[in-house]
Amino acid sequence: YQYLLITGIYVLEPWEKSIFNTVLFTMVAMVVYTSYVFV
Protein backbone atom coordinates (compact mmCIF):
# COMPACT_ATOMS: atom_id res chain seq x y z
CA TYR A 1 0.00 0.00 0.00
CA GLN A 2 2.83 2.38 0.89
CA TYR A 3 4.53 1.52 -2.40
CA LEU A 4 1.35 2.43 -4.30
CA LEU A 5 0.91 5.65 -2.34
CA ILE A 6 4.48 6.88 -2.48
CA THR A 7 4.94 6.19 -6.18
CA GLY A 8 1.50 7.67 -6.83
CA ILE A 9 0.36 4.71 -8.92
CA TYR A 10 -2.45 4.19 -6.41
CA VAL A 11 -4.55 6.51 -8.60
CA LEU A 12 -3.66 4.77 -11.90
CA GLU A 13 -5.77 2.17 -13.69
CA PRO A 14 -4.72 -1.49 -13.42
CA TRP A 15 -3.15 -1.65 -16.87
CA GLU A 16 -1.13 1.47 -16.15
CA LYS A 17 0.03 -0.02 -12.88
CA SER A 18 1.19 -3.12 -14.80
CA ILE A 19 3.18 -0.97 -17.22
CA PHE A 20 4.81 0.90 -14.36
CA ASN A 21 5.65 -2.26 -12.42
CA THR A 22 7.06 -3.95 -15.50
CA VAL A 23 9.31 -1.02 -16.34
CA LEU A 24 10.40 -0.60 -12.73
CA PHE A 25 11.09 -4.31 -12.30
CA THR A 26 13.09 -4.43 -15.52
CA MET A 27 15.21 -1.49 -14.44
CA VAL A 28 15.83 -2.89 -10.99
CA ALA A 29 16.80 -6.25 -12.51
CA MET A 30 19.20 -4.52 -14.90
CA VAL A 31 20.77 -2.48 -12.11
CA VAL A 32 21.16 -5.56 -9.89
CA TYR A 33 22.63 -7.64 -12.72
CA THR A 34 25.09 -5.00 -13.83
CA SER A 35 26.13 -4.26 -10.27
CA TYR A 36 26.72 -7.96 -9.74
CA VAL A 37 28.79 -8.22 -12.93
CA PHE A 38 30.69 -5.06 -12.07
CA VAL A 39 31.44 -6.10 -8.50
Binding site: L5, T7, G8, I9, I19, F20
Partner: protein
Amino acid sequence: SHIVGHNAVLYNKPFVESFEETPLLVAVLTYMGYGILTLFGYLRDFLRHWKIEKCRVASERDEQKDFVPLYQDFENFYTRNLYMRIRDNWNRPICSVPGAKMDVVERVTHDYNWTFEHTGTVLKNVINMGSYNYLGFAENTGPCADSAAEATVKYGVGVSGTRHEIGNLDKHEELEKLVARFLGVESSMAFGMGFATNSMNIPSLAGKGCLTLSDELNHASLVLGARLSGSTIRVFKHNNMQSLEKLLRDAIVHGQPRTHRPWKKIVILVEGIYSMEGSIVRLPEVIALKKKYKAYLYLDEAHSIGALGPRGRGVVDYFGVDPHDVDIMMGTFTKSFGASGGYIGGKKELIDYLRTHSHSAIYATSMSPPVAQQIITSMKCIMGEDGTTLGQERLRQLSENTTYFRRRLHEMGFIIYGNENSPVVPLMLYMPAKIGAFGREMLKRNIGIVVVGFPATPIIESRARFCVSAAHTKDMLDTALNAISEVGDLLQLKYSRRTRL
Protein backbone atom coordinates in the same frame (compact mmCIF):
# COMPACT_ATOMS: atom_id res chain seq x y z
CA SER B 1 8.85 25.35 11.58
CA HIS B 2 9.19 29.07 11.23
CA ILE B 3 7.37 30.97 13.92
CA VAL B 4 8.12 34.51 12.79
CA GLY B 5 8.89 36.83 15.66
CA HIS B 6 6.40 39.61 16.21
CA ASN B 7 5.87 42.72 18.30
CA ALA B 8 4.45 41.04 21.35
CA VAL B 9 3.68 44.39 22.93
CA LEU B 10 0.89 44.94 20.41
CA TYR B 11 -0.89 41.71 21.29
CA ASN B 12 -3.27 41.12 24.17
CA LYS B 13 -2.74 37.34 24.03
CA PRO B 14 -0.06 34.89 22.88
CA PHE B 15 -0.02 34.58 19.11
CA VAL B 16 1.05 31.01 18.32
CA GLU B 17 1.15 30.08 14.66
CA SER B 18 3.28 27.36 13.11
CA PHE B 19 4.00 26.02 9.65
CA GLU B 20 6.28 23.04 10.11
CA GLU B 21 8.48 22.57 7.04
CA THR B 22 7.93 19.69 4.67
CA PRO B 23 10.39 16.87 5.46
CA LEU B 24 12.97 16.84 2.65
CA LEU B 25 12.51 13.15 1.84
CA VAL B 26 8.74 13.61 1.63
CA ALA B 27 9.22 16.59 -0.68
CA VAL B 28 11.48 14.60 -3.02
CA LEU B 29 9.07 11.65 -3.05
CA THR B 30 6.20 14.05 -3.75
CA TYR B 31 7.99 15.45 -6.80
CA MET B 32 8.72 11.89 -7.91
CA GLY B 33 5.03 10.99 -7.57
CA TYR B 34 3.94 14.01 -9.59
CA GLY B 35 6.63 13.19 -12.16
CA ILE B 36 5.36 9.63 -12.59
CA LEU B 37 1.74 10.79 -12.88
CA THR B 38 2.75 13.45 -15.41
CA LEU B 39 4.53 10.80 -17.48
CA PHE B 40 1.41 8.66 -17.47
CA GLY B 41 -0.60 11.77 -18.30
CA TYR B 42 1.49 12.28 -21.42
CA LEU B 43 1.06 8.59 -22.24
CA ARG B 44 -2.74 8.91 -21.99
CA ASP B 45 -2.75 12.07 -24.09
CA PHE B 46 -0.71 10.22 -26.69
CA LEU B 47 -3.23 7.37 -26.76
CA ARG B 48 -6.13 9.84 -27.03
CA HIS B 49 -4.40 11.79 -29.78
CA TRP B 50 -4.00 8.65 -31.92
CA LYS B 51 -7.55 7.55 -31.14
CA ILE B 52 -6.28 4.45 -29.37
CA GLU B 53 -8.27 5.57 -26.35
CA LYS B 54 -11.65 7.28 -26.47
CA CYS B 55 -11.34 10.96 -25.63
CA ARG B 56 -13.98 11.87 -23.03
CA VAL B 57 -12.94 15.44 -22.46
CA ALA B 58 -14.92 18.25 -24.10
CA SER B 59 -13.27 19.15 -27.39
CA GLU B 60 -14.21 20.90 -30.63
CA ARG B 61 -15.85 19.02 -33.45
CA ASP B 62 -13.81 18.56 -36.62
CA GLU B 63 -15.79 21.28 -38.36
CA GLN B 64 -14.68 23.74 -35.69
CA LYS B 65 -10.99 22.99 -35.91
CA ASP B 66 -10.23 26.11 -37.91
CA PHE B 67 -11.79 28.47 -35.39
CA VAL B 68 -10.03 29.86 -32.32
CA PRO B 69 -9.85 26.89 -29.92
CA LEU B 70 -12.58 26.93 -27.29
CA TYR B 71 -10.73 24.51 -25.04
CA GLN B 72 -7.17 25.18 -24.04
CA ASP B 73 -5.81 21.68 -24.46
CA PHE B 74 -2.78 21.88 -22.21
CA GLU B 75 -4.54 23.84 -19.47
CA ASN B 76 -6.76 20.83 -19.07
CA PHE B 77 -3.84 18.47 -18.63
CA TYR B 78 -4.04 18.19 -14.85
CA THR B 79 -7.79 18.05 -14.82
CA ARG B 80 -8.04 15.16 -17.22
CA ASN B 81 -4.96 13.22 -16.11
CA LEU B 82 -4.72 13.84 -12.37
CA TYR B 83 -7.87 15.34 -10.93
CA MET B 84 -10.13 12.93 -12.83
CA ARG B 85 -8.50 9.97 -11.16
CA ILE B 86 -9.35 11.09 -7.65
CA ARG B 87 -12.32 13.35 -8.21
CA ASP B 88 -14.71 11.02 -6.34
CA ASN B 89 -13.43 12.90 -3.27
CA TRP B 90 -14.97 16.16 -4.43
CA ASN B 91 -18.47 17.46 -5.10
CA ARG B 92 -20.05 14.65 -3.12
CA PRO B 93 -23.85 15.10 -3.18
CA ILE B 94 -25.48 15.36 0.26
CA CYS B 95 -29.20 15.14 1.04
CA SER B 96 -29.44 16.91 4.37
CA VAL B 97 -28.35 20.17 5.97
CA PRO B 98 -24.55 20.41 6.13
CA GLY B 99 -24.68 20.28 9.91
CA ALA B 100 -22.47 18.41 12.38
CA LYS B 101 -23.76 15.24 10.77
CA MET B 102 -25.07 14.86 7.25
CA ASP B 103 -26.40 12.27 4.84
CA VAL B 104 -24.18 11.60 1.83
CA VAL B 105 -25.66 10.17 -1.37
CA GLU B 106 -23.64 7.14 -2.34
CA ARG B 107 -22.43 7.01 -5.95
CA VAL B 108 -20.38 4.55 -7.95
CA THR B 109 -18.27 4.80 -11.07
CA HIS B 110 -17.53 2.13 -13.65
CA ASP B 111 -15.10 4.16 -15.74
CA TYR B 112 -12.56 5.52 -13.28
CA ASN B 113 -14.54 8.63 -12.30
CA TRP B 114 -15.40 9.84 -15.77
CA THR B 115 -19.09 9.27 -14.96
CA PHE B 116 -20.94 8.43 -11.75
CA GLU B 117 -24.16 6.63 -10.96
CA HIS B 118 -26.23 6.88 -7.78
CA THR B 119 -26.62 3.50 -6.11
CA GLY B 120 -29.78 4.66 -4.33
CA THR B 121 -28.12 4.19 -0.98
CA VAL B 122 -27.62 7.08 1.43
CA LEU B 123 -24.74 7.09 3.90
CA LYS B 124 -26.51 8.25 7.05
CA ASN B 125 -25.04 10.41 9.82
CA VAL B 126 -21.68 11.04 8.27
CA ILE B 127 -19.69 13.28 10.62
CA ASN B 128 -19.17 16.50 8.71
CA MET B 129 -15.65 17.88 9.14
CA GLY B 130 -15.62 19.68 5.84
CA SER B 131 -18.37 22.31 5.84
CA TYR B 132 -18.01 25.87 7.07
CA ASN B 133 -20.45 25.74 9.95
CA TYR B 134 -18.48 27.27 12.76
CA LEU B 135 -21.35 28.08 15.09
CA GLY B 136 -23.65 25.27 14.01
CA PHE B 137 -26.40 27.46 12.57
CA ALA B 138 -26.72 25.16 9.56
CA GLU B 139 -29.83 23.48 10.87
CA ASN B 140 -33.38 22.99 9.62
CA THR B 141 -34.99 23.29 13.02
CA GLY B 142 -34.91 25.92 15.72
CA PRO B 143 -35.58 29.69 15.84
CA CYS B 144 -33.54 30.52 12.75
CA ALA B 145 -35.40 28.08 10.54
CA ASP B 146 -38.77 29.13 11.92
CA SER B 147 -38.16 32.82 11.39
CA ALA B 148 -36.78 32.18 7.91
CA ALA B 149 -39.93 30.23 7.10
CA GLU B 150 -42.11 33.12 8.31
CA ALA B 151 -40.12 35.53 6.17
CA THR B 152 -40.60 33.24 3.19
CA VAL B 153 -44.35 33.27 3.68
CA LYS B 154 -44.42 37.02 4.16
CA TYR B 155 -41.93 38.22 1.52
CA GLY B 156 -41.56 35.27 -0.82
CA VAL B 157 -38.21 33.82 -1.80
CA GLY B 158 -36.81 36.06 -4.52
CA VAL B 159 -36.49 39.82 -4.86
CA SER B 160 -36.79 40.75 -8.50
CA GLY B 161 -35.07 44.05 -8.23
CA THR B 162 -31.89 45.77 -7.23
CA ARG B 163 -31.23 47.88 -4.13
CA HIS B 164 -31.51 50.99 -6.29
CA GLU B 165 -35.00 50.06 -7.41
CA ILE B 166 -37.82 48.03 -5.95
CA GLY B 167 -35.44 45.52 -4.37
CA ASN B 168 -34.82 47.63 -1.28
CA LEU B 169 -36.88 46.02 1.50
CA ASP B 170 -37.31 46.93 5.14
CA LYS B 171 -35.77 43.55 5.94
CA HIS B 172 -32.52 44.67 4.33
CA GLU B 173 -32.42 47.89 6.27
CA GLU B 174 -33.13 46.03 9.51
CA LEU B 175 -30.28 43.65 8.68
CA GLU B 176 -27.84 46.46 7.88
CA LYS B 177 -28.58 48.30 11.11
CA LEU B 178 -28.04 45.08 13.06
CA VAL B 179 -24.77 44.32 11.26
CA ALA B 180 -23.51 47.83 12.01
CA ARG B 181 -24.28 47.32 15.68
CA PHE B 182 -22.75 43.85 15.64
CA LEU B 183 -19.52 45.19 14.16
CA GLY B 184 -19.43 48.36 16.22
CA VAL B 185 -19.20 50.63 13.16
CA GLU B 186 -21.31 53.53 11.96
CA SER B 187 -23.06 51.89 9.04
CA SER B 188 -23.05 48.76 6.90
CA MET B 189 -24.40 47.40 3.63
CA ALA B 190 -25.43 43.82 2.81
CA PHE B 191 -24.97 42.04 -0.52
CA GLY B 192 -26.54 38.85 -1.80
CA MET B 193 -23.24 37.09 -2.57
CA GLY B 194 -20.04 36.81 -0.58
CA PHE B 195 -17.68 36.62 -3.55
CA ALA B 196 -19.35 39.60 -5.20
CA THR B 197 -19.00 41.67 -2.06
CA ASN B 198 -15.26 41.73 -2.72
CA SER B 199 -15.10 41.59 -6.48
CA MET B 200 -17.79 44.22 -7.07
CA ASN B 201 -16.93 46.72 -4.35
CA ILE B 202 -13.16 46.97 -4.47
CA PRO B 203 -13.43 48.53 -7.95
CA SER B 204 -15.53 51.28 -6.36
CA LEU B 205 -12.89 51.90 -3.71
CA ALA B 206 -9.67 51.87 -5.73
CA GLY B 207 -8.74 52.74 -9.27
CA LYS B 208 -5.98 54.11 -11.46
CA GLY B 209 -3.23 55.82 -9.52
CA CYS B 210 -4.00 53.75 -6.44
CA LEU B 211 -1.85 51.00 -4.98
CA THR B 212 -3.24 47.76 -3.61
CA LEU B 213 -1.01 45.76 -1.26
CA SER B 214 -2.39 42.22 -1.21
CA ASP B 215 -1.39 39.17 0.83
CA GLU B 216 -0.06 36.43 -1.45
CA LEU B 217 -2.68 33.96 -0.21
CA ASN B 218 -5.70 36.20 -0.54
CA HIS B 219 -8.94 34.73 -1.78
CA ALA B 220 -9.76 34.78 -5.50
CA SER B 221 -12.54 37.35 -4.93
CA LEU B 222 -10.04 39.82 -3.48
CA VAL B 223 -7.66 39.18 -6.36
CA LEU B 224 -10.44 39.67 -8.91
CA GLY B 225 -11.71 42.82 -7.22
CA ALA B 226 -8.22 44.30 -7.11
CA ARG B 227 -7.67 43.49 -10.79
CA LEU B 228 -11.03 44.89 -11.85
CA SER B 229 -10.25 48.11 -10.04
CA GLY B 230 -7.34 48.87 -12.37
CA SER B 231 -5.12 49.81 -9.45
CA THR B 232 -1.49 48.74 -9.24
CA ILE B 233 -1.21 45.53 -7.26
CA ARG B 234 1.78 44.47 -5.21
CA VAL B 235 1.88 41.21 -3.29
CA PHE B 236 3.53 40.70 0.10
CA LYS B 237 4.47 37.39 1.69
CA HIS B 238 1.73 35.68 3.61
CA ASN B 239 1.13 37.38 6.97
CA ASN B 240 4.68 38.75 6.88
CA MET B 241 4.83 42.24 8.34
CA GLN B 242 8.42 42.86 7.29
CA SER B 243 7.45 42.21 3.68
CA LEU B 244 4.39 44.47 4.00
CA GLU B 245 6.37 47.29 5.58
CA LYS B 246 9.00 47.09 2.86
CA LEU B 247 6.32 47.46 0.18
CA LEU B 248 4.78 50.38 2.06
CA ARG B 249 8.12 52.14 2.39
CA ASP B 250 8.91 51.63 -1.30
CA ALA B 251 5.47 52.89 -2.24
CA ILE B 252 5.85 56.04 -0.14
CA VAL B 253 9.44 56.73 -1.17
CA HIS B 254 9.23 56.00 -4.89
CA GLY B 255 5.59 56.77 -5.60
CA GLN B 256 4.07 55.71 -8.88
CA PRO B 257 6.26 54.04 -11.50
CA ARG B 258 7.78 56.36 -14.11
CA THR B 259 6.09 59.58 -12.94
CA HIS B 260 6.98 59.08 -9.27
CA ARG B 261 3.87 60.99 -8.32
CA PRO B 262 2.59 60.01 -4.88
CA TRP B 263 -0.08 57.30 -4.87
CA LYS B 264 -3.61 58.64 -4.61
CA LYS B 265 -4.32 56.05 -1.97
CA ILE B 266 -2.77 52.84 -0.70
CA VAL B 267 -5.14 50.02 0.25
CA ILE B 268 -3.94 47.02 2.25
CA LEU B 269 -6.01 43.90 1.56
CA VAL B 270 -5.90 41.17 4.21
CA GLU B 271 -8.18 38.39 5.44
CA GLY B 272 -9.08 37.63 9.06
CA ILE B 273 -8.60 33.85 8.80
CA TYR B 274 -6.91 32.31 5.77
CA SER B 275 -9.08 29.31 5.15
CA MET B 276 -6.43 27.23 3.38
CA GLU B 277 -3.64 27.94 5.86
CA GLY B 278 -5.63 28.13 9.08
CA SER B 279 -3.67 31.27 9.93
CA ILE B 280 -4.98 34.44 11.55
CA VAL B 281 -3.93 37.87 10.32
CA ARG B 282 -1.52 39.82 12.52
CA LEU B 283 -4.09 42.58 12.81
CA PRO B 284 -2.45 44.73 15.54
CA GLU B 285 0.71 44.96 13.46
CA VAL B 286 -1.17 45.65 10.25
CA ILE B 287 -3.07 48.48 11.98
CA ALA B 288 0.17 49.88 13.39
CA LEU B 289 1.67 49.88 9.89
CA LYS B 290 -1.36 51.48 8.26
CA LYS B 291 -1.33 54.28 10.83
CA LYS B 292 2.38 54.80 10.39
CA TYR B 293 2.19 55.02 6.60
CA LYS B 294 -1.31 56.55 6.28
CA ALA B 295 -2.71 53.65 4.25
CA TYR B 296 -6.25 52.26 4.18
CA LEU B 297 -7.05 48.83 5.56
CA TYR B 298 -9.59 46.49 3.92
CA LEU B 299 -10.20 43.49 6.19
CA ASP B 300 -12.00 40.47 4.73
CA GLU B 301 -13.55 38.57 7.65
CA ALA B 302 -15.20 35.89 5.55
CA HIS B 303 -14.17 33.15 7.98
CA SER B 304 -13.40 35.04 11.16
CA ILE B 305 -16.67 36.92 11.65
CA GLY B 306 -18.76 34.96 14.15
CA ALA B 307 -16.00 32.40 14.68
CA LEU B 308 -13.36 34.43 16.53
CA GLY B 309 -13.37 36.66 19.55
CA PRO B 310 -15.01 36.38 22.96
CA ARG B 311 -18.15 38.01 21.57
CA GLY B 312 -17.92 36.51 18.10
CA ARG B 313 -17.23 39.86 16.48
CA GLY B 314 -14.33 38.47 14.49
CA VAL B 315 -10.62 39.10 14.45
CA VAL B 316 -11.08 42.72 15.64
CA ASP B 317 -12.76 41.37 18.78
CA TYR B 318 -10.18 38.58 19.07
CA PHE B 319 -7.29 41.02 19.32
CA GLY B 320 -9.35 43.61 21.20
CA VAL B 321 -8.54 46.42 18.75
CA ASP B 322 -10.84 49.32 17.88
CA PRO B 323 -13.12 48.54 14.90
CA HIS B 324 -12.72 52.15 13.76
CA ASP B 325 -9.05 51.45 13.05
CA VAL B 326 -10.16 49.23 10.19
CA ASP B 327 -11.33 51.41 7.34
CA ILE B 328 -13.38 48.79 5.49
CA MET B 329 -14.79 45.81 7.38
CA MET B 330 -15.95 43.14 4.97
CA GLY B 331 -17.29 39.71 5.79
CA THR B 332 -19.69 36.99 4.71
CA PHE B 333 -22.70 35.34 6.30
CA THR B 334 -21.93 31.94 4.81
CA LYS B 335 -19.63 30.39 7.38
CA SER B 336 -20.97 31.30 10.79
CA PHE B 337 -24.58 32.32 10.23
CA GLY B 338 -25.82 29.40 8.15
CA ALA B 339 -26.76 31.82 5.40
CA SER B 340 -25.10 33.38 2.35
CA GLY B 341 -24.11 36.79 1.14
CA GLY B 342 -21.73 39.40 2.47
CA TYR B 343 -21.51 42.81 4.10
CA ILE B 344 -19.29 45.85 4.15
CA GLY B 345 -19.13 47.98 7.28
CA GLY B 346 -17.41 51.26 8.04
CA LYS B 347 -17.98 54.99 8.23
CA LYS B 348 -21.37 56.26 7.14
CA GLU B 349 -19.95 58.36 4.33
CA LEU B 350 -18.13 55.30 2.98
CA ILE B 351 -21.28 53.19 3.02
CA ASP B 352 -23.36 55.98 1.48
CA TYR B 353 -20.77 56.24 -1.25
CA LEU B 354 -20.96 52.47 -1.84
CA ARG B 355 -24.74 52.59 -1.93
CA THR B 356 -24.52 54.92 -4.90
CA HIS B 357 -21.43 53.51 -6.61
CA SER B 358 -21.33 49.79 -5.89
CA HIS B 359 -21.79 47.52 -8.89
CA SER B 360 -23.77 45.09 -6.72
CA ALA B 361 -26.20 47.77 -5.57
CA ILE B 362 -26.89 48.89 -9.11
CA TYR B 363 -27.04 45.63 -11.05
CA ALA B 364 -27.44 42.65 -8.69
CA THR B 365 -30.80 41.58 -7.32
CA SER B 366 -30.73 42.08 -3.58
CA MET B 367 -30.51 39.46 -0.88
CA SER B 368 -33.40 37.01 -0.51
CA PRO B 369 -35.55 37.97 2.53
CA PRO B 370 -35.53 34.51 4.19
CA VAL B 371 -31.75 34.54 4.02
CA ALA B 372 -31.72 38.02 5.53
CA GLN B 373 -34.02 36.79 8.27
CA GLN B 374 -31.76 33.79 8.94
CA ILE B 375 -28.85 36.18 9.41
CA ILE B 376 -30.84 38.51 11.67
CA THR B 377 -31.98 35.67 13.91
CA SER B 378 -28.58 34.00 14.16
CA MET B 379 -26.80 37.32 14.70
CA LYS B 380 -29.21 38.26 17.51
CA CYS B 381 -28.59 34.86 19.00
CA ILE B 382 -24.82 35.47 18.97
CA MET B 383 -25.33 38.91 20.49
CA GLY B 384 -27.54 37.41 23.19
CA GLU B 385 -30.46 39.62 22.14
CA ASP B 386 -32.75 36.62 21.75
CA GLY B 387 -32.95 36.29 25.50
CA THR B 388 -30.88 33.11 25.63
CA THR B 389 -27.22 32.36 26.17
CA LEU B 390 -27.18 29.98 23.21
CA GLY B 391 -24.89 32.22 21.19
CA GLN B 392 -22.37 32.63 23.99
CA GLU B 393 -22.41 28.88 24.62
CA ARG B 394 -21.73 28.13 20.97
CA LEU B 395 -18.85 30.58 20.85
CA ARG B 396 -17.30 28.96 23.88
CA GLN B 397 -17.97 25.49 22.51
CA LEU B 398 -16.29 26.36 19.22
CA SER B 399 -13.23 27.69 20.99
CA GLU B 400 -12.97 24.58 23.16
CA ASN B 401 -13.52 22.24 20.20
CA THR B 402 -10.85 24.03 18.21
CA THR B 403 -8.25 23.91 20.94
CA TYR B 404 -9.02 20.26 21.72
CA PHE B 405 -9.03 19.13 18.09
CA ARG B 406 -5.76 20.86 17.25
CA ARG B 407 -4.03 19.64 20.38
CA ARG B 408 -5.06 16.01 19.77
CA LEU B 409 -3.92 16.05 16.15
CA HIS B 410 -0.63 17.55 17.25
CA GLU B 411 -0.20 14.83 19.89
CA MET B 412 -0.79 12.16 17.26
CA GLY B 413 2.17 13.46 15.27
CA PHE B 414 0.46 15.01 12.26
CA ILE B 415 1.80 18.20 10.72
CA ILE B 416 -0.95 20.78 11.06
CA TYR B 417 -0.69 24.38 9.92
CA GLY B 418 -1.91 27.66 11.27
CA ASN B 419 -2.90 29.39 14.42
CA GLU B 420 -3.83 27.45 17.51
CA ASN B 421 -7.13 29.34 17.78
CA SER B 422 -8.22 28.97 14.19
CA PRO B 423 -11.21 26.63 13.64
CA VAL B 424 -9.80 25.78 10.21
CA VAL B 425 -7.29 22.95 10.67
CA PRO B 426 -5.14 21.98 7.66
CA LEU B 427 -3.54 18.52 8.07
CA MET B 428 -0.64 17.96 5.64
CA LEU B 429 -0.78 14.99 3.23
CA TYR B 430 1.93 15.98 0.67
CA MET B 431 1.85 13.10 -1.85
CA PRO B 432 -0.77 13.16 -4.63
CA ALA B 433 -1.99 9.61 -4.11
CA LYS B 434 -2.48 10.20 -0.40
CA ILE B 435 -4.97 12.95 -1.20
CA GLY B 436 -7.30 10.44 -2.83
CA ALA B 437 -6.60 7.67 -0.36
CA PHE B 438 -7.22 9.87 2.69
CA GLY B 439 -10.58 11.11 1.46
CA ARG B 440 -11.74 7.61 0.58
CA GLU B 441 -10.54 5.96 3.77
CA MET B 442 -12.21 8.62 5.89
CA LEU B 443 -15.54 8.25 4.11
CA LYS B 444 -15.29 4.49 4.69
CA ARG B 445 -15.17 5.40 8.37
CA ASN B 446 -18.19 7.66 7.98
CA ILE B 447 -16.31 10.94 8.24
CA GLY B 448 -16.79 13.58 5.54
CA ILE B 449 -13.71 15.71 4.96
CA VAL B 450 -12.27 18.11 2.40
CA VAL B 451 -8.93 17.45 0.69
CA VAL B 452 -7.01 20.00 -1.36
CA GLY B 453 -4.10 19.53 -3.74
CA PHE B 454 -1.97 21.20 -6.38
CA PRO B 455 -2.58 23.69 -8.04
CA ALA B 456 -4.88 25.05 -5.29
CA THR B 457 -1.96 24.60 -2.89
CA PRO B 458 1.81 24.62 -3.47
CA ILE B 459 2.87 21.34 -5.11
CA ILE B 460 4.44 19.93 -1.95
CA GLU B 461 1.73 21.07 0.43
CA SER B 462 -1.35 19.02 -0.36
CA ARG B 463 -3.59 18.82 2.64
CA ALA B 464 -6.85 17.80 4.24
CA ARG B 465 -8.73 20.74 5.74
CA PHE B 466 -10.94 20.19 8.76
CA CYS B 467 -13.50 22.79 9.81
CA VAL B 468 -14.43 22.49 13.45
CA SER B 469 -17.98 23.41 14.45
CA ALA B 470 -19.65 24.34 17.72
CA ALA B 471 -22.22 21.71 16.78
CA HIS B 472 -19.64 18.95 17.07
CA THR B 473 -19.95 17.12 20.37
CA LYS B 474 -16.89 15.70 22.06
CA ASP B 475 -17.96 12.20 21.04
CA MET B 476 -18.08 13.24 17.41
CA LEU B 477 -14.65 14.83 17.66
CA ASP B 478 -13.22 11.76 19.37
CA THR B 479 -14.75 9.50 16.73
CA ALA B 480 -13.25 11.67 14.00
CA LEU B 481 -9.87 11.85 15.75
CA ASN B 482 -9.71 8.08 16.20
CA ALA B 483 -10.53 7.58 12.53
CA ILE B 484 -7.92 10.16 11.52
CA SER B 485 -5.31 8.44 13.67
CA GLU B 486 -6.16 5.05 12.22
CA VAL B 487 -5.99 6.32 8.64
CA GLY B 488 -2.86 8.30 9.52
CA ASP B 489 -1.16 5.07 10.58
CA LEU B 490 -2.43 3.24 7.50
CA LEU B 491 -1.18 5.91 5.10
CA GLN B 492 1.88 6.88 7.18
CA LEU B 493 0.92 10.53 7.55
CA LYS B 494 2.40 11.25 10.98
CA TYR B 495 5.34 13.22 9.66
CA SER B 496 5.82 15.74 12.43
CA ARG B 497 9.30 15.83 13.96
CA ARG B 498 8.28 18.27 16.66
CA THR B 499 8.30 16.95 20.21
CA ARG B 500 4.93 15.44 21.01
CA LEU B 501 3.06 17.12 23.82
